[in-house]
Symmetry: C2
DNA sequence: TATCATCATAGTACCTTAGTAAGAAGGAGG
DNA sequence: CCTCCTTCTTACTAAGGTACTATGATGATA
């Protein structure tokens, strides 16, 4: 009864973009400041190379990695892993973190619905958690 | 450049199920312990009545509301709003809160990927926040 | 100029969301 | 008993997003 509506939930999850991107970034962090090709990262992290190419493009636009083309090309982190917050990577790939749209006539700035309190409080908590963690916190050694 | 992949983000959001359900629950909390019909709630909160019927069914199965059929029928909260955590309502409607699937060979229990630290830490934070808020915290007076 | 890497667009199958449509089930009042 | 009025349930649908694949352009190095 009604279970089909809830059985497989995909809400309040990050996409594989965030997952793959974070894996690629931690992989690069482990060899920082050396560079690596997408092919190497993809096979080590078991990610589709073609898909990862697109994700790395986003991260490059976001200036957390730098690329060089051609033979001997590849990717490097553009900063020390200690200075790259996990939240920055995730927001680049998954967009702004906001747990509810909260638009429309019952959630405008004039008339706040009671539940908007929940979404605002939660949004702050999530960002605090994700920006408090740095890439360097995710690698061993 | 790649922007179409990120422009409109729907990840890390709750669905309208959670939004509507929470609105309906706060609406019921405001008249607790009196009852109300779905029709009243739907028009006051500007939600499709037919859709809300389904959502209320889920909440009834989750035993946060009680219903009575027939003429003079309607819905009541099954507990005092002080005793109903916001997280319970949201998990009933949106399913278990877990920010990443983390399955597959790189995220099994034997071989934890570095980024699983992020998802676990975040999941704990989100639950703590949502279960710390009660329905009674969302209503004025 | 051949090779090897990044960079970019287009297209696809599958799935979820957010509903609508149609009606069955059941209690209250006449 | 009958008819309202409510809840309850299943089935269906359009729109849109995810997670890719396919195909190739661009550009640096040897």
């Amino acid at each position: 009864m009604y279970t089909n509506l809830v059985d497989i939930n995909k809400n309040m999850r990050f996409s594989t973009k965030a997952e793959y991107g974070l894996k690629a970034m931690t992989n690069l962090a482990q060899c920082y400041p050396a560079q690596k090709t997408i092919g190497e990262i993809a096979s080590q992290e078991n990610i589709s190379q073609k898909y990862l190419e697109r994700l790395m493009g986003i991260l490059r636009n976001g200036e957390v990695v730098q690329s060089s083309k051609g033979k001997q090309g590849g990717y490097v982190l553009s900063k020390d892993p200690k200075k790259i917050p996990v939240g920055e990577i995730i927001e680049l790939l998954d967009g702004d973190i906001a747990p509810m749209r909260c638009v429309g006539k019952f959630c405008s700035s004039e008339h706040k619905c009671p539940s908007s309190v929940v979404w605002n409080k939660l949004g702050v908590q999530i960002k605090k958690t994700l920006y408090g963690m740095k890439l360097s916190d995710l690698i061993k050694n």
